[in-house]
Symmetry: C2
Subunit: 219 residues, 2 copies
DNA sequence: ATACAGTGTTGACACCGTACACATGAGGTG
DNA sequence: CACCTCATGTGTACGGTGTCAACACTGTAT
């Protein structure tokens, strides 16, 4: 995990330059193509050109390898979110801006799921008690993880006065659940087969629902 | 689950009485304990006391077996939902009742996920283009699948006038996404580790959010 | 120069899904 | 009754997987 110098391996050298990194990258390629189950240890080592057991010098077991790939995938999600956030033009109205930021975070999540299904599933279908969500291993350019980007948008809404402070705690889980559910149902689950257009439309409405629903029952 | 004659196999008989059913039930037991990945074909046949290859007389491959287990699991979800629906006392206000029914469906979904995590994941993490959601193989006592129970509650809301008709199409996907997301995040995903109490609380708020959010942005 | 610790290799094991050929026996037909 | 047939279960085998234990190589510090 430390910043190994990444000295290139001289070809034909017995020792690989930075095997750990190489394994993670090959694993990421497999995950991108086929989700977490596709990152099979033997295939990863094969692609890197090394014996299967060599991986055990860098990872306790296969699960540790996919966990590393998972962190990388979360970083990719954060980058997509940041891109979406960057496209929001300030309108002068802090409340509207905060809502737009929340929508951007959600839209980034959904866009990533649609664009990189394999990586998406790898990022968020791995058991993990929120530790990775707070670890800088999963952060994007802004130094924040997807979870932290979401939390930031919600904080902003409170500060702008468009979300009641007493509704703030735990709001991450509500918003996250909504977008995550759609993504998962559409990817591996019973909603595969829905065409991209309707999926896009449902996604938009879902974000509206979160926006309206976070503030609780209507007066 | 169906009413197959289920003639008991005479012990020592070469032919098993109703192997297909026996395999599904053993598979369900495994799924209950460890989710879809735990239903491993060889172990299933071992428990039934039969050779691994015998399963291939009844299922094209392992995936077909877990698909059958999946249908059974969805039936179990429908039963939990129906139980939750039965507890709703009519209040005289059709609109309130319809909302209560929607909440009951969602609460049943979440309760099943918390009570039977393995079965839940098996029910809804299997690729499938909504065909199973409409098949009577997945229905409960009322003859309706979880998906159909959800759709029914939403229809009721429209009829009672608490959901605008133009918001009805696709509303299943919105509500389903929300509860499904929470369930999945809490089970296999990054939200495992959240204790049961907070999970319960988040679940309640999530149902509120759906209720309020389905009707779109506030005036 | 030598010892050592880190890294990669070899060989093996248990387990999995699955294909093929074969054995069994229940039920219909003469 | 004898016979045939076909659905069903068995045996054996193959390629794939994750992982372990013992061994081989090599860059580095003594």
């Amino acid at each position: 995990m430390t910043t190994r110098p990444n000295r290139a391996a001289r070809p034909g050298s017995y020792h690989h330059g930075d095997l750990r990194r190489a394994l993670i990258e090959a694993g990421t390629a497999l995950a991108r193509a086929g989700g977490p189950d596709a990152v099979v240890l033997r295939e990863v080592t094969r692609q890197v050109g090394v014996t299967a057991n060599a991986a055990y010098r860098h990872f306790a077991d296969r699960d540790a390898l996919v966990a590393a790939v998972c962190s990388d995938a979360q970083t990719a999600v954060a980058l997509t979110m940041e891109a979406e956030l960057a496209e929001v033009e300030p309108s002068g109205d802090d409340g509207a801006d905060a809502c737009a930021h929340l929508r951007a975070v959600g839209a980034g999540y959904l866009r990533f799921a649609a664009t990189e299904p394999g990586l998406f599933l790898t990022a968020f279908s791995v058991p993990d008690d929120l530790r990775r969500a707070a670890s800088e291993d999963s952060a994007g350019d802004s130094g924040r993880t997807p979870f932290q980007l979401l939390a930031g948008a919600l904080d902003e809404m409170v500060m702008a006065g468009v979300l009641a402070p007493e509704r703030r705690p735990g709001a991450e889980f509500l918003a996250w659940s909504a977008v995550h559910g759609l993504a998962v149902l559409a990817l591996g689950g019973p909603l595969s087969g829905l065409d991209r257009a309707t999926l896009e439309r449902v996604g938009q409405r879902l974000l509206e629902m979160v926006d309206a629903g976070l503030q609780g029952p209507r007066p």
